[in-house]
């Protein structure tokens, strides 16, 4: 039993508008509002799952059938991503409850909730311009959150992010202009239907503009200059959420574009190549990082490179692998970020070299970090293994042996730098014994949930995959999606 899915977006917005009022009542309330709202989203996306697997749920807004009105199209893919986003969002929201002490906290919670709502909107909407609006909601809240700490580096990172983000969003707008100018519609399914009759010289330019725009959010090289800075300078929880929320929405938009709306075969190969380049450059940069969070940021980019490779394969199985990788990345990266955030906090320095012997002082945090590192390296039986395995297997099946070898080379590099950090945590003699500080229970809870999900997905990958298969099918075979939207309510 699920409620109208539009509430997944409307209620967080409503709550966000109300937070200033609620904040007057008590300072405590705003802390829990995101937990409740995103928890509701989580509930919704779980309850919708059995329905959306069968056929897309079309939600009509303002009583206008598509393509006239805006509609939410919750196919398997959108639902799975909404689930991922709400799950990560929920966990990070729990973490936020105690972690955020920087004033003004109520604004922080507001921004955070809107970021999650925006990302949810991006993956649920069926309208191209609405996608743009939600992209802006997501990215503006991300800009503000990046600079939230208000130190010099945070502002710098935020400015970079904003510059690149807004530059690219104008390209998105240009692309939308081109599409509207030639097809006269903004509904994605309708566009997909009508764009076949448009001169491909025009549509390819539209696609390029849109890919450039959404490539920024999905961390494609060379559009990812913002990522390492933003990840490392944002508050820890936000850095964790970027990988699981903002980037996922960006990749979703990218996938939607290249699979559903447009139909260019060469683009897939292009995405594949960009994926490899992204992966390699990110891993190579990561290995030389001195700061822990910055290293994690580069590693995150590398993981997205792997996702892009999977999307570039354009096979159902490959996309499944890519979605699985996205799922894993969304679970593991927050785990790493949250534990790293605490480790950095306790060691009092952002540098990896100051983490010596934290394994002794903070065994649980270090365990979570090591667990996450092992999972992201793709060691069985953790879930990272399966996604990597499927992607590489499909890459080789597609005949791209060199690509697979390069991706694996990237994995080796990844193993090296993660092991170096884990080594610091465990192998080095702790420099001096400080009195141990308290780790909030909400943080431990958040990390445990993520770790359990990772372990569970690794032991029972079929459970996860059974939901990803319809999602991948929906993406690769777009006819069902288009039909569902255009016949909605008839």
């Amino acid at each position: 039993m699920y409620f109208d899915p539009v509430l997944m977006i409307a209620l967080p917005l409503f709550a966000a508008f109300l937070i200033p009022l609620l904040g007057r009542v008590s300072k405590e309330i705003p802390k829990y509002v995101p937990v409740v709202m995103i928890g509701f989203n989580l509930y919704e996306s779980i309850m919708m799952l059995p329905h959306s697997m069968v056929k897309p749920i079309i939600v009509i807004i303002a009583a206008w059938k598509p393509p006239l009105g805006i509609n939410l199209t919750i196919g398997a893919l959108g639902n799975v991503l909404a689930l991922i986003i709400s799950l990560v969002g929920f966990v990070v929201a729990i973490y936020n409850v105690r972690f955020v002490q920087k004033e003004p906290t109520e604004k922080y919670h507001m921004l955070y909730m809107l970021m999650v709502a925006g990302a949810t909107g991006m993956v649920l909407t069926g309208d191209l311009f609405n996608l743009f609006v939600f992209l802006e909601i997501t990215s503006i809240s991300s800009y503000a959150l990046t600079a939230f700490i208000r130190d010099r580096n945070g502002a710098e990172a935020a400015f970079k992010y904003l510059l690149i983000g807004s530059l690219s969003s104008t390209f998105v707008l240009l692309g939308i202009a081109l599409i509207y100018g030639t097809t006269g519609t903004l509904n994605m399914a309708d566009i997909a239907e009508k764009i076949q009759h448009v001169d491909s010289k025009i549509t390819i330019v539209a696609l390029i503009l849109l890919v450039t725009g959404f490539g920024v959010e999905s961390e494609m090289f060379p559009l990812n200059g913002w990522a390492p800075d933003a990840y490392s300078q944002a508050p820890t929880a936000i850095g964790a959420a970027f990988g699981g929320i903002v980037v996922k929405a960006g990749v979703y938009a990218l996938a939607r574009l290249i699979y559903t709306i447009f139909n260019f075969q060469g683009v897939f190969f292009f995405i594949l190549i960009m994926g490899v380049i992204t992966l390699l450059i990110a891993e190579m940069s990561a290995i030389r990082q001195k700061q822990l969070k910055r290293m994690l940021a580069f590693s995150s980019i590398g993981q997205m490179g792997l996702v892009l490779i999977a999307l570039g394969l354009a096979t159902v199985r490959g996309v499944e692998g890519g979605l699985f990788q996205m799922f894993n990345h969304a679970m593991i990266k927050p785990l790493l970020f949250l534990s790293a955030g605490y480790l950095v906090y306790y060691s009092g320095s952002k540098d990896i070299s100051d983490l010596d012997g934290m394994g002794r002082k903070k065994p649980l945090l270090s365990f979570f970090f090591a667990f996450g590192a092992f999972a992201i390296m793709g060691l069985p039986p953790l879930s990272g293994f399966w996604s990597k395995f499927i992607i590489i297997s499909e890459t080789i099946r597609g005949g791209f042996v060199v690509v697979a070898a390069l991706a694996l080379f990237g994995s080796v590099i990844e193993a090296v730098y993660y092991l170096r950090v884990v080594g610091r945590l465990y192998f080095k003699q702790p420099n001096e014994s400080e009195k141990t500080k308290y780790v909030h229970a909400s943080a431990i809870l958040a990390m445990s949930v993520l770790a359990l999900v990772v372990l569970f997905a690794g032991l029972f990958p079929d459970m996860v995959m059974s939901y990803l298969k319809p999602a991948a099918t929906e993406l690769v075979d777009k006819t069902a999606y288009i039909k569902a939207v255009l016949t909605a309510g008839l």
């Binding site: 909601i137 939230f148 010289k201």
Partner: protein
């Protein structure tokens, strides 16, 4: 060096994009089955708003507008968060001359009324919540500029903002409850070209007007204040 590279690549982009856009002839109705003409045909009979742009912004694509309001809200919130200081803040500005002050006194109510007029008549004439809100904000700006001591109550502003924003969503939820879809126009459409027509459209635009007005005012206030 950077200049040269930038010019070269911008030249390339400009060339290719212009070439592409020249393929789309200007000033000709190209896509006859596009949604735009359907909106034109349906706008008045089905929404009751004389201004089709308004009916699109508030009704057909009302969800976008909700997002848009959120974006503005986000920007205001973000700025508030970024310029937050623990110490109380003040505007530092010399009092303006007596003429300006006197003028401002007279102009301020007029500007507010103009703004209100613009957003109340959004469904009939050009203009609407955003424009009206901006006009109201400029009225407050005038007061900020003229009177050093002029003070807007932050609590009031944020309450207006909150209430206006939640009104928008509540109207949407009413649509969900009574009209089976979010933001559905559940009120009677009335007679076209009268003030009380077009169902929820004016209500939403009024809410948007209040919200945008208070948000922009708050935004300007935030930017003008500094720590002494």
């Amino acid at each position: 060096m950077r200049k040269a590279i930038a010019v070269i690549f911008l030249g390339i982009i400009g060339y290719y994009l212009l070439a592409t856009f020249f393929n789309i002839p200007f000033g000709i109705a190209r896509v006859l089955d596009g949604v735009g003409f359907k909106y034109l045909a349906m706008g008045v009979p089905d929404t009751g708003a004389a201004n089709v742009v308004t009916s699109i912004v508030v009704n057909f694509r009302g969800f976008d507008t909700l997002g848009e309001v959120t974006v503005l809200f986000l920007a205001a919130t973000g700025m508030g968060a970024l310029l937050h200081h623990r110490e109380p803040m003040k505007r530092s500005r010399q009092n303006a001359s007596i003429i300006v002050k006197a003028g401002a006194r007279i102009l301020f109510p007029l500007i507010i009324i103009l703004g209100a007029y613009v957003f109340v008549h959004g469904h009939l004439t050009p203009g609407g919540g955003f424009q009206g809100g901006a006009i109201i904000a400029s009225g407050f700006l005038l007061m900020f500029m003229s009177y050093r001591s002029y003070h807007v109550n932050h609590v009031v502003i944020s309450r207006v903002e909150s209430l206006a924003g939640s009104t928008f969503v509540i109207i949407g939820l009413f649509g969900l409850v009574y009209g089976h879809s979010f933001l559905a126009n559940v009120l009677p459409l009335g007679t076209v070209n009268t003030l009380f027509s077009a169902g929820v459209i004016p209500l939403i635009y009024i809410a948007v007007g209040f919200k945008v007005g208070s948000e922009l005012t708050g935004l300007l206030d935030t930017m003008l204040k500094t720590v002494k």
